[in-house]
């Protein structure tokens, strides 16, 4: 699960979009030997080839990728919490097994992504510390609570649906390890969306209170799901964001706004099929554009949640840190066991060579 919404509002613009970068680039050009390396990188990008871990790459490209992949990885593992909350209370054994598998998948996705980030020369331990210290973000969607069972349906259908929309283009990302991780993630993610839809489908064919529960979940998750695509980045909003540079680098393939529109176009007919009313009075088909028009997203709320004032920000990080700290003895024990086994093996070898 992941959105484009994790850009720190307090952070300066991407270094590569400022005059400081232009000056630095000029400076680099005047240094002997480096321009041929830069040419390699640019030539690879121009040819739509993948950049691989040990290739030369601009520092800004490396930094941008580390930040994006880390935020993506953090989103996966923080994303285990809202649904993990319902594992003990899933309404049937079937639902429980599915939910466990889904939450386990999110853990796996986190691992693929941390591995991809590590190929850029950063240690996973350090990334986790940045998450725990609040220095790196995760998708703000996970700062909303899962109040009812129907929320597990809405998350699968809307949140994972939006995540897939975001992630499919990343399968063609210019950085090889990230692209390969995304291919794997997308393949696994499609069951997540379908199981969510199925939960709502069943609720909508149940009792009146079950239908009301499904509608309530859709009401609460629709707008945060749209915000997952990140702030507007086309038209006037194109200036000053990361989108332009990320597109030039082949990290990003579509704008936030394009992906959001595609998501709305895909999801409205699904909501109709479910019999759910999406909470937007401005939602209507625009014949001329060939797209669904939709209302204004509350970006004040978005920035507020991103800054840390969402319903569950503190709880999510608190839980994450506790889980990490409480697992310390397991990691220590595994280390002690590995050290002891290695020592025994050495002893055995020494005995054998002495005999």
């Amino acid at each position: 699960m992941y959105g484009n919404d994790v850009i720190d509002p307090n952070e300066p613009l991407n270094a590569a979009e400022t005059a400081a970068y232009d000056a630095a680039a000029e400076h680099e050009d005047q240094r002997g030997g480096r321009d041929t390396v830069g040419g390699d990188f640019d030539a690879l990008l121009a040819a739509d080839q993948r950049i691989e871990p040990r290739d030369a790459m601009p520092d800004e490209y490396r930094e941008t990728l580390i930040r994006q992949i880390a935020q993506h990885a953090h989103s996966e593992i923080i994303g285990m919490q809202p649904e993990g909350n319902w594992i003990t209370r899933a309404p049937s054994l079937r639902r429980k097994a599915i939910l466990i598998a889904k939450v386990q998948d999110e853990a796996g996705h986190g691992l693929y992504l941390y591995s991809a980030a590590e190929t850029l020369g950063i240690d996973r331990q350090e990334l986790l510390e940045r998450l725990h210290d609040g220095k790196q973000k995760y998708s703000s969607i996970f700062n909303y609570p899962t109040l009812t069972w129907a929320d597990c349906g809405a998350i699968g259908w809307l949140v994972d649906g939006a995540a897939i929309m975001n992630q499919v283009p990343l399968c063609r990302c210019s950085y090889g390890p990230y692209a390969r991780a995304m291919i794997r993630v997308c393949k696994e993610e499609s069951f997540h969306q379908r199981q969510g839809f199925e939960i709502l489908w069943n609720l909508m064919r149940g009792t009146e209170s079950q239908k009301a529960m499904a509608q309530d979940a859709a009401d609460r998750w629709w707008w945060p799901a749209l915000a997952m695509f990140g702030p507007p980045d086309t038209g006037d909003a194109a200036k000053g964001g990361h989108t332009e540079q990320s597109m030039a680098w082949g990290i990003k393939r579509f704008s936030n706004d394009d992906l959001r529109q595609k998501f709305v176009d895909m999801t409205v007919p699904q909501a109709q099929k479910l019999g759910l009313t999406l909470p937007d009075p401005d939602l209507r088909w625009n014949e001329e554009r060939g797209h669904w028009d939709f209302g204004q997203i509350d970006w004040d709320e978005f920035w507020q949640v991103l800054r840390g004032d969402g319903p569950c920000n503190a709880e999510r990080i608190e839980h994450r840190r506790r889980a990490h700290d409480e697992g310390a003895w397991v990691r220590e024990a595994a280390n002690a066991y590995a050290t002891k086994q290695a020592a025994r093996e050495r002893e055995q070898q020494q005995k054998e060579s002495a005999a």
């Binding site: 040990r54 693929y112 020369g121 510390e129 991780a181 066991y337």
Partner: protein
Amino acid sequence: MSGATTPTTGAGAPSEPAQGERSWPLWEVFVRGKRGLSHVHVGSLHAPDAELALRNARDVYTRRQEGVSIWVVKADDVTASSPSEKDSFFDPAGDKIYRHPTFYDVPEDVEYL
């Protein structure tokens, strides 16, 4: 899924963990999808020893029966060619087009050639 045929730690110097806790070594994971295919690199993971690396690889990379056999190799034990020497390293094969069957001029009406 991470590095292709190069160890995933290959880029730059890995930074030291900021706190006291020692990071587990990195292992590269190779999976045989089915009998008759070779093992293919699928990604990497951290584990304290080979046995746990293998178990974690099973849980992470074969949750949907993607494999019938797994290799784990310590990333530090992989020796890789250097991308900066790519040209000179692979150059020797560049001018030996006579190693390809299409190099040879033969009459078109000769069968089984």
